[in-house]
């Protein structure tokens, strides 16, 4: 009988047999069914395999979805994906339990009764958006557009440009995201400024960069994972790539710099468990050591960086050769061959031997090289000094530097950690400086590459809007100069200009004080803001100040219950079509199914824009018209391309939306002029828009640009990589190069109150162990492999693995503070208190504790929770985090890591959160009659023109 086995031939039980369900709204009841697993012996209806692409996190693994009778019954990795190669992680595999979760938001809803009462009434999309648009327009007419603000977040299939586009259409400058200044904005922006590659050419492997690492034939010998944990941030994509490199005969020598013993640390040659928040001191130590021991790549530094350029110490800008009678296009160096100051043309003058270090007289002024300025800045950070600041062993630091600097092919991968405290800008800069100094630029093994540029130069193109943060264009042509000046906090922290986002603490201050104006209506599209923002309680306390809150998401969260007046139901990733670029291939994410009245988030913003346009809003009207949003005012300053990207108008339909994402594909690839062609012909294999050899080529900067006859250089003003970051200083003084509006790229914004430095400096964490307070331990955070941001806490299979928040405590500290493994503890900071279960482990450095974000959907339910606040207060590390000054000068970053807490063991389970596997039974997938098909409705865009009237 063995050969007749089928999946469940022995186990007929349903995944969720007969479980009674009580949802947040108390209206759903799970019917008996074997949901996802029909028996092929008895079920004869055909199974269709639908290839698609996951979006349970920001990695994008290719997937094969099995569908029977319209129901997704199984998911597995699609081996054709060049990055995931068939692997699929716990988050992605949970797609079915997320999709059919009983607590999905299914229909637009309006709150009845008080906020927090959790009573809702169903509305049609038309009624809901009419009511919301009426209120938006009332506020617009009464207070002006900045009365409205929006927010979004990672997690849950976002297209992060949506709220930016809506705000730009509506005329309000304020949109925020809890990541941003605390995640990726510093590293991504600084790489644009220093390296000048595309939007995704930076050191963050978790954000689909470091594409060199997807090739096991890479020459890479060693790498530094600085605050990065690829094995857990994207297990089946970044983690798979790391595993494949480790599995080579030569292996991969690795240094991991992280207070926590991550999976990657467990595979590393050297683990540096540094004190949270002190990374920049260690980076400056590395810079000093590499300079002092001449471990840098002198030839690259001389010819392809701005480090030899002489600097005016008064302005901090590099000198241009007009000051010595030459061309202002050229820079000034000290030539060791002639012992004189000389002009340096692009790309280089081989007659010169430009000095890397030293200070030289130019027109009577002592001018150091950029390298000298950097060297001086780092001079105090000896191995011993860094060891003392960072709680490390000096010899081990030295050993780590040599793993990095002695290999011919090495690189530094820079993770999220340093984006989570106010020293973020300097960390981002210092990491890039190390890579520039070492010459790890467009070289085999290096993280910084511009793969694909050769292919594009040869007329190839993916032809889709890539998967970058702002791929769809952000309607910058609708931004006025006034909006740039009015954006909250972005004038002081001008790094925000790059993402067109506002500074969260400044938004909060405006809400509570009314100064400089009062934001009153909040359009929020993400999961649980009360679990994601720093110092969550400060936001909770401000909610009564906000007149209207619209929450758009796939399921209700604490934020929905505590804050929302309207709920707009969003689609899960298995419901959203979109082309996805994976290296040299394009794959379709398909609409595998579509449930209830859920809406694609980008279309949701478009619906709201259409409703406002109907009510006479001119910006929203213009946002639908191609000629209004695509003025193409871009220009080049040096090699830096600035200016307004081609804008894409709002879509009038799902097909049009997909078409916009797929805008130019037919131009490049006549074989697949439409998205449907891509689906039909290349759904499983992906469309190869360039061969892998055409795509993966090194050293684009050295190749000749046919239009100039010179090397391409880098996309910076000087055409060299710019580790002496004078442009960062210029950004703070002028807004250049990110102040984009209808006037083009402007350079006369009000200067920031402090100058941004062109070289790094170390900031001791504002709260630190030496402050002698009652909070003796330093908190750090970081990913676990089964959750992405605040998502998936409602997935039964995942919650049974990790039902509660954990706090890791070193055995030494556990002894001192009386903490036993597995016990509940109260964790307190100066902002508040929350709970977690202790994991006593030497996998966290002594003196520090680690806790990941958490919230408890089970406490949303009136019948089981002690109170509604519990869902975001019970186990939420962001009740403890700090969102007031000091901030990062450039990026406004507040403090999510490197602040002080105390930990005390308590009895019992303070909020009665669910801890046992079977507790999660009510969240097993819905089946049968509880899944209503999507109802077609009248075209909500019928009255909105896409062309100017004749």
């Amino acid at each position: 009988m063995g050969t007749t086995f089928t999946r469940r031939s022995f186990v007929k039980t349903a995944v969720a047999l007969g479980a009674a369900i009580v949802t947040a709204s108390g209206t759903h009841r799970l019917v008996e069914a074997d949901g996802a697993y029909a028996d092929p012996d008895t079920d004869t209806s055909a199974v269709t395999i639908v290839p698609t692409v996951c979006r349970a996190c920001i990695a994008q693994c290719t997937v094969l979805a099995s569908v029977r009778d319209g129901r997704v019954i199984n998911l597995e990795g699609n081996p054709e994906g060049p990055m995931s190669q068939g692997a699929m992680c716990a988050k992605g595999l949970s797609g079915i339990q997320a999709l059919y979760n009983p607590n999905r938001n299914k229909y637009p809803m309006v709150r009845v009764g008080e906020r927090g009462g959790n009573e809702w009434k169903r509305l049609s999309w038309d009624d809901a958006t009419d009511q919301i648009a009426d209120k938006l327009m009332d506020a617009y007419n009464k207070y002006g557009p900045e009365a409205v603000f929006a927010s979004t977040g990672g997690g849950g299939n976002p297209h992060i440009s949506g709220p930016i586009r809506f705000m730009n259409s509506f005329g309000s400058p304020n949109n925020f995201e809890p990541g941003c200044a605390q995640c990726y904005l510093p590293r991504q922006t600084q790489a644009r400024l220093v390296f000048g590659g595309g939007k995704d050419d930076n050191l963050s492997i978790a954000d689909s960069n470091v594409l060199e690492f997807y090739f096991t034939d890479s020459q890479v010998q060693s790498c530094v994972l600085w605050g990065a944990g690829p094995s857990w941030s994207g297990p089946s994509m970044t983690g798979r790539a790391m595993a494949a490199l480790r599995d080579r005969d030569q292996g991969l020598k690795t240094v991991v710099i992280d207070p926590r013993f991550t999976a990657d640390a467990s595979k590393a040659d050297v683990w540096l468990p540094l004190r949270p928040g002190t990374d920049v001191a260690l980076m400056m130590c590395w810079i000093k050591y590499i300079i002092d021991n001449v471990l840098y790549d002198a030839d690259f530094d001389q010819k392809w960086t701005n480090l030899p350029f002489l600097v005016d110490p008064d302005t901090k800008y590099c000198l241009h050769a007009d000051v010595i009678g030459g061309s202002s296009d050229d820079y000034v160096v000290w030539d060791d061959n002639t012992g004189s100051v000389q002009a340096l043309p692009f790309p280089y003058d081989d007659a010169l031997d430009a000095a890397l270090f030293g200070t030289y007289e130019v027109n009577g002024k002592q001018c150091p090289t950029g390298y000298q300025v950097l060297k001086d800045a780092c001079d105090e950070y000896t191995l011993d000094k860094a060891a003392e600041i960072c709680w490390l062993d000096a010899d081990r630091i030295e050993q780590a530097i040599h793993i990095y600097a002695d290999a011919e092919y090495s690189t530094l991968i820079h993770g999220l950690a340093t984006d989570q405290f106010p020293n973020s800008a300097q960390a981002a800069l210092a990491a890039l400086e190390l890579e520039c100094m070492m010459g790890h630029i467009e070289k085999p093994g290096a993280a910084l590459q511009r793969f694909g540029c050769f292919a594009e130069e040869n007329g190839k193109g993916a032809g889709i809007i890539p998967n970058d943060t702002f791929g769809m264009g952000c309607l910058q042509a609708l931004i006025t100069y006034d909006m740039l000046e009015k954006r909250l906090g972005s004038n002081e922290h001008k790094g925000f200009l790059n993402w067109q986002m506002a500074h969260i603490p400044t938004v909060l201050e405006a809400i509570t004080t009314g100064k400089p104006y009062k934001p009153r209506i909040w359009l929020e599209r993400s999961g649980n803001k009360l679990a994601a923002v720093g110092n969550a309680k400060s936001w909770y306390n401000a909610l009564p100040e906000i007149d209207l809150v619209v929450h758009s998401y796939m399921y209700p969260t604490s934020f929905t219950i505590e804050a929302a007046d309207y709920i707009l139901p969003m689609r899960e990733w298995l419901e959203c079509p979109k082309p996805v670029l994976l290296m040299n291939k394009v794959f379709p994410r398909q609409e595998v199914t579509h449930l209830w009245e859920t809406c694609d988030e980008t279309l949701m913003w478009s619906r709201l824009a259409a409703k406002c346009a109907e009510r006479g809003h001119d910006g929203c009207r213009r946002a639908f018209i191609k000629s209004e949003v695509a003025p193409g005012k871009s220009k080049k300053i040096g090699n830096f391309e600035v200016g307004i990207e081609d804008g894409y108008p709002w879509a009038h339909s799902e097909d049009e939306l997909v078409g916009l994402f797929y805008n130019e594909c037919g131009d490049y690839n006549p074989d697949i002029p439409t998205f449907d062609d891509l689906v039909e012909k290349y759904a499983e294999t992906g469309y190869e828009w360039a061969t892998i050899d055409e795509w993966r080529q090194y050293g684009f900067y050295k190749a000749t640009d046919p239009s100039t006859g010179k090397p391409h250089g880098f996309g910076t003003v000087s055409g060299r990589v710019e580790p002496y970051s004078e442009i960062t200083t210029r950004l703070g003084r002028t807004g250049f190069p990110f102040a984009l509006c209808e006037d083009g790229c402007v350079e006369d914004l009000t200067p920031s109150s402090v100058d941004y430095e062109p070289v790094p400096y170390y900031m001791e964490p504002y709260e630190n162990p030496a402050d002698g307070s009652d909070y003796p331990l330093v908190m750090t955070e970081g990913r676990v492999p089964i959750y992405h941001h605040g998502t998936l806490r409602n997935v039964p299979y995942l919650r049974e693995i990790m039902p509660t928040a954990e706090i890791w405590v070193n055995p030494k500290d556990a002894d001192e503070y009386g903490i036993a493994d597995g016990k509940w503890v109260k964790v307190s900071s100066r902002r508040g208190e929350t709970y977690a279960r202790a994991v006593v482990t030497s996998g966290i450095c002594t003196g520090a504790v680690y806790q990941e974000r958490f919230w408890n959907p089970e406490l949303l339910d009136k019948n089981t929770g002690k109170n509604l606040n519990g869902s975001w207060m019970a186990e939420n590390v962001n009740v403890l985090t700090k969102n007031d000054a000091p901030f990062s000068d450039v990026y406004g970053t507040y403090t999510l890591r490197g602040f002080q807490v105390k930990v005390e063991q308590v009895d019992g389970n303070p909020y009665d959160v669910w801890t046992e596997p079977t507790d999660f039974q009510p969240w097993m997938p819905l089946t049968g009659d509880d899944i209503a098909p999507t109802v077609e409705e009248a075209d909500p865009w019928a009255s909105i023109p896409s062309e100017e009237a004749e």
Partner: protein, 193 residues
């Protein structure tokens, strides 16, 4: 007769839990029941000189399977492909096999009142596919195949490592077939050999 088994390269395993979810999804395993479960081992040593690894556990496909020997009804049996399985139609829920299993990898199905465990996914392998945990493994460090066939994935990966890096769970004469690769650099094997 084939000698199919799973081999896990613990040098690469990152404890991501993909295999647990893949197994549960593929086989519809209920909450609180596990055919495949991942344990963290360590940290070993003293901070900061520590090691840690993860140990995915599942039916070890013993050559002398005590579960088969103790089963009073023949529900636990070895099929013609040499795979230890449980016939639910015959299982009376006495749990003798759960007590006999040295590794605690059998799971009690509270709804059906029968014992269950890893089957090596015959519904997939008979179609030429890999078990779900092997196929989806995020680090791609699980291998499936015939240990007697040098060309199988399982044999090929074992051939790459020294004997000292290849381990089995503590063998009391039952001869588990599941093999684990763990090098001393990554962790010290704690489960007996």
């Amino acid at each position: 007769m084939p000698h199919n088994a799973i081999v896990v390269n613990l040098n690469l395993c990152t404890g991501c839990m993909s295999c647990e979810i893949a197994c549960k999804q593929e086989n519809g395993v209920s909450l609180g029941q596990y055919w495949n479960k991942v344990f963290r081992v360590g940290p070993q040593g003293t901070f900061p000189d520590i090691k840690q690894y993860w140990l995915p556990t599942m039916c070890q496909q013993c050559e002398n399977a005590p579960c088969v020997e103790v089963c009073p009804t023949g529900a636990s049996y070895r099929d013609e492909n040499n795979v230890v399985l449980i016939n639910h139609e015959v299982c009376i829920g006495c749990k003798y096999c759960m007590m006999a299993c040295p590794y605690g990898v059998r799971s009690w199905n509270t709804d059906e009142k029968v014992v269950e465990k890893c089957t090596l996914c015959p519904q997939l392998t008979t179609l030429g596919k890999k078990p779900a945990c092997v196929h989806n493994c995020a680090s791609q460090c699980r291998y499936y195949g015939d240990l007697d066939d040098p060309d199988s994935d399982a044999s090929k990966v074992l051939a790459r490592f020294n004997e000292s890096d290849i381990h089995v769970l503590k063998d009391e004469g039952n001869h588990p077939s599941t093999h684990y690769i763990l090098s001393e650099k990554i962790g010290t094997w704690e489960m007996g050999d």
